[in-house]
Amino acid sequence: MKRFLQAVLMVLGVLMVISIPFDYLFSNYLITYSKAQKYVGWNDIIYDSINADLVVLGSSRAWVQYDTYIIDSMLQTNSYNLGIDGSPLNRQMLKYKIYSHFQSKSPKVMVVNIDFWSVSRRTGYQRDQFFPYLLNRYTRNEFIKDEPFSIGELFLPMFRYYKQGVYSVYLESNIDHNLFKGYAGMDWEWDGSGFSRISSFHFNKDETVAKEFDDFLKELKNQKVRIVFVCAPLYFGITKIVDNLFEYYETIQSYSDKYEIPILDYFNYYLSYDTSYFYNAMHIMFPRIESMS
């Protein structure tokens, strides 16, 4: 029995030892060569010098709808899109925090895309986007404040990649999202299947996130960053089934009033009534963004 346990521990020990440099090399590969949105967005803000005057904050709507090329050319500025797929304000603020830590220059303007999903907390979704950066002490400490990681993911080398399969992670990292300064327009056909399954929708406000967002805005104001709220177009079918639309407006209006933030509301904009602009009820397709601009 003793011999058997020794053999098992020996194998595990060797695996662990091999995994340490492997983890370092693989994480660095993802940081250096990955083309996938989930890594490129973080790689840019942690390892590159962006020097943006205008940043866009938001979830996937920001990511696929705020064309940084158009913003740059029309406003004659240097912009960067911090949009993060499937992520409400807790992660959006985290991303900005990481951005401001690693980037020497603060933006002058911040466009915050705010919608019915924003004032809430979400963890777990696409958590693998954080994995390569757990080797960096600062990002690791920031990520674990918001995202629950298992002991294995935090302390066992390669464990976080082994779970998904290293080769799968590698394949996924090669999917080229053609990001341009954080922006990735999607040219897909309209698909209303997801939307047709929803009969009603409730704007949920997480009080903790609301408070954190308030502090966040306060801090930005102190830093003299100009903030603009944008309610980007959503297919009207979504807006009309929100049963507490008033509460939503009341929430963003309260921030707006408190910090003198202008609101650009496109919920009732003409294109919100036409599915030909959207690839699903919540996202505009990229050629339409080009033509709209």
Binding site: M1, F4, L15, G165, Y167
Partner: protein
């Protein structure tokens, strides 16, 4: 709890250490040692099963208790029988009466077990089919209960005990804890191998000894099972699921490839599970029966069935086919018996016409062999003593393989209609030409389907290893023949790394859990 989950990776070492260190070593002097160790096996097995749904533990306990109880009742009748013989009564009438009582007890237990199985697995199917036949509504008639995981496996295991006790092949056990351990032993509880009481139960009645070589071999077999499951089967599943869910949009070549991949998926999945189960049991000093023996190297369908899901095939052979007369009856009855076991085998898999059709399909393939007496033509390993098969053997294996592939299409389809349409689309004119373009010309691979070369490579690795190890217990047995410790160690670590690197991104549940 899945074998390929983190929970199991934690559960197994904890149970292993408690089993050998607490319940074997520290209390080894106690006369209760064996019972306590068996009780621990039962508790661990119930935790393992209850992880999925604890409510159905009552069902296993009930099944176990009824089968154990029937054995005890038969023992009592047996004692009465012996008593009446000893007293010199010699009254054959009395003996016949007691024999009838034994039969009644066995029948009652079989009916009870099958009734439970029928309610959970087949009731809704029969009601729906009858309702459709007579155009009546099923409102309020359907039970809509969840199918308890592994119910077919442990029910058949319990039945084998009752029948073997009735036949006098095994003494009924008084040890209820050992019996509960026999029914619920966690490595094989949810997907087999379906053990016979004659093999497994005696192992719970005697003290187990830890054996280093057996345990190491068990670990290697677990590793081989994991390779087949999480590298081969799960990677095949990515493609198979995508194609089968959109089969009406796919070309014939894609459908053919998906059918071939499913053939490897189900093999990797189920035989992988069996290897993990057998390997895990070895860690606890328990030897389970072999469930697969390189079935895709079979030279005809009869050989395929001697090598595929051996525990179920032999179960039907011993408890259904032979009692019906087997092949030592008239040709008409042989046909009947063959169809009965194949249809039952199909229906055992699930309440769907596709499984019955799959069984019928194999019965049709099997019949010519049994009627011409060629069903036991190939009982040895293919190319025994040779490195490569002859051309004839290769052709036979390929033909048998593709016959199996066609069968798996029926098995995998959601309905007979879907299977038929799948066949039509797959075999439509031009598929062969399209297949050539599809596989050999660049740029023909549909963009929406995942690149399959890594999965092809994994399948090739599995087949090569199985070919080279075809006379052995499992694929990684070759490790024991590497004499140099360092090389053995390096190969082992490389294998583990390979599995961790190439495991599929989305782990799928074991297919046979649903049965």
């Amino acid at each position: 709890m899945l074998f390929n989950s983190i929970q199991f990776a934690l559960f197994l070492p904890i149970v292993f250490l408690l089993y050998w260190f607490v319940f074997d070593r520290f209390i080894s002097k106690s006369k209760w040692q064996l019972r306590l160790q068996n009780a621990f096996v039962v508790v661990a097995s119930y935790v393992f099963y209850g992880w999925w749904d604890w409510r159905f533990l009552l069902l296993i306990a009930f099944t176990s208790f009824c089968s154990w109880g029937s054995g005890m009742l038969m023992q009592r009748v047996e004692n009465q029988q012996i008593g009446s013989n000893l007293t010199g009564g010699g009254k054959s009438l009395e003996i016949n009466k007691l024999q009838r009582r034994k039969k009644l007890i066995t029948t009652a237990n079989i009916v009870l077990n099958l009734l439970i199985l029928a309610i959970f697995k087949y009731y809704d199917f029969f009601v729906t089919e009858f309702a459709q036949l007579f155009h009546i509504s099923t409102d309020g008639l359907l039970l809509k209960v969840i199918l308890p995981v592994g119910i077919s496996f442990y029910t058949f295991q319990a039945l084998s005990y009752s029948i073997d006790v009735y036949r006098g092949k095994i003494e009924p056990t008084k040890d209820i804890i050992a019996f509960f351990a026999f029914i619920s032993f966690f490595p094989q509880l949810v997907a087999g191998p379906i053990e016979r009481a004659t093999n497994l139960l005696p192992q719970f009645l005697k003290k187990r000894k830890f054996d280093y070589d057996t345990a190491v071999d068990g670990m290697r077999q677990i590793l081989w099972g994991l390779f087949k499951k999480i590298v081969v089967a799960d990677n095949c599943a990515v493609y198979v699921d995508q194609v089968f869910s959109t089969y009406t949009d796919q070309c014939g070549s894609a459908l053919l490839l998906a059918a071939i991949f499913f053939t490897f998926q189900i093999y990797g999945d189920f035989s992988g599970y069996s290897d993990i189960a057998i390997g895990t049991a070895k860690l606890f000093g328990i030897k389970l029966m072999r469930n697969f023996n390189v079935p895709y190297f079979s030279r005809d369908i009869a050989e395929f069935w001697r090598r595929w899901h051996i525990s179920l095939t032999t179960w039907f052979r011993d408890y259904v086919y032979i009692p019906l007369g087997g092949s030592r009856v008239s040709k008409a009855k042989v046909v009947r018996n063959t169809f009965i076991i194949f249809l039952l085998s199909g229906f055992w898999h699930g309440a769907n016409w596709t499984f019955i059709a799959w069984g019928a399909y194999h019965a049709i393939l099997f019949l010519p062999l049994i009627l011409t007496g060629k069903n036991r033509k190939y009982t040895n390993q293919v190319a025994e003593g040779r490195f490569l098969p002859t051309l004839k053997e290769a052709g036979q294996m390929l033909l048998t393989f593709f016959l199996a592939v066609f069968g798996w299409i029926i098995f995998r389809a959601e309905s007979i209609g879907m299977a038929w349409e799948y066949f039509q689309r797959m075999l439509q004119f031009g598929t062969l030409r399209a297949s050539y373009r599809f596989f050999f010309l660049s740029g023909m691979w549909p963009k929406e389907l995942p690149e399959m070369w890594p999965t092809n490579l994994f399948i090739v690795i599995m087949l090569v290893v199985e070919w080279l190890q075809r006379g052995k217990g499992h694929g990684f047995e070759f490790l024991s023949r590497i004499k140099t410790l360092i090389i053995r160690f390096v190969v082992l670590v490389l294998i583990i790394e390979f599995i961790l690197i190439f495991k599929a991104s989305v782990p799928s549940q074991f297919i046979y859990f649903q049965f």
